[in-house]
């Protein structure tokens, strides 16, 4: 049984995603801050775009670079820098791919041995948020693969 991921548009410029994880905050935080672990989950097969490389210098002012695609050259490169790094409770980074890019804040809250994760994306404007959705276009068809993927994930867990 997986926990429910919720999403809410909390204002014209902000989206908030929440999810509970069955593990302590320091472990969930670790999975967000070590490139070898990020690579295992950030681009699951169902998204149809594997991670080619992942570099992360997780400290205030440090940069990250994630390349996606099926081979060189990458189809898409995500990059930016960390504004706040507070283990194991808070991470803030910029997304510097374009003018429309959001600032992402992730908080990890301990709850009886579980972790409530809240991801907050703040866009520079309403229009930027609405244009930003284009980046995820083309993915809905791939979501059908998700049903097939879930049993394997659960089995290997």
């Amino acid at each position: 049984m997986t926990n429910r991921t919720t999403i809410e548009r909390t204002s014209e410029r902000a989206l908030v995603v929440t999810r509970v994880f069955d593990g302590p905050a320091r472990i969930v935080f670790e999975a967000w801050t070590k490139p070898e672990l990020m690579k295992l989950w950030w681009a699951p097969k169902s998204l149809g775009m594997p991670i080619l490389s992942c570099e992360m210098d997780v400290r205030v002012g440090g940069g990250y670079r994630l390349a996606f695609g099926h081979g060189e050259p990458p189809v898409f490169v995500a990059f930016g820098k960390y504004l706040e790094v507070t283990p194991p409770s808070r991470l803030v980074w910029t997304n510097d791919e374009g003018e429309d890019a959001a600032v992402t804040t992730v908080t990890f809250e301990a709850q009886n041995g579980q972790t409530l994760l809240t991801l907050h994306e703040l866009y520079p404007s309403k229009e930027a948020l609405e244009r930003g959705r284009g980046a995820e276009d083309g993915m809905p068809e791939q979501f059908e693969q998700l049903d097939a993927l879930l049993p394997t994930l659960t089995a290997s867990a």
Binding site: T5, I7, W41, S46, F143, L153
Partner: protein
């Protein structure tokens, strides 16, 4: 079902093929407006604007409500549906990631146990 979708698409394209109607949608995206206000803004007769709004209404882009003598127009359910569909597809991206992250968390927990 396919025919219904085709008809729906035809109505959409027809509705959006006109510059005034695209302008009306843009305007209603900012705030609701009465037919009279729209007619004024687009320098049009009331009858002309009623016709345009009717086309947009049929395509599901606009809904209208008559209160007293004023007919107020706002963006229709169709736009809301699209917004909801987009949010849901975005949620699914995160859900897919987080389901994969569950596996990583389980592995890390397991590793800690065996290290003890």
């Amino acid at each position: 079902m396919v025919q219904f979708e085709t008809a729906r698409l035809d109505a959409s394209f027809a509705a959006l093929s006109d510059a005034t109607r695209r302008g009306v949608l843009e305007q209603l995206g900012r705030s609701e407006a009465s037919i009279t206000e729209l007619a004024d803004r687009f320098h049009m007769t009331l009858t002309g604007m009623k016709k345009h709004v009717g086309v947009l209404e049929q395509a599901g882009f606009v809904t209208t409500q008559k209160i007293g003598r004023v007919r107020t127009c706002r963006l229709g359910l169709r736009r809301l549906e699209e917004e909801a569909a987009w949010i849901e597809s975005y949620r699914q991206v995160w859900a897919a990631r987080f389901d994969a992250l569950d596996t990583v968390v389980e592995q890390l927990k397991h590793r800690e146990k065996t290290d003890d």
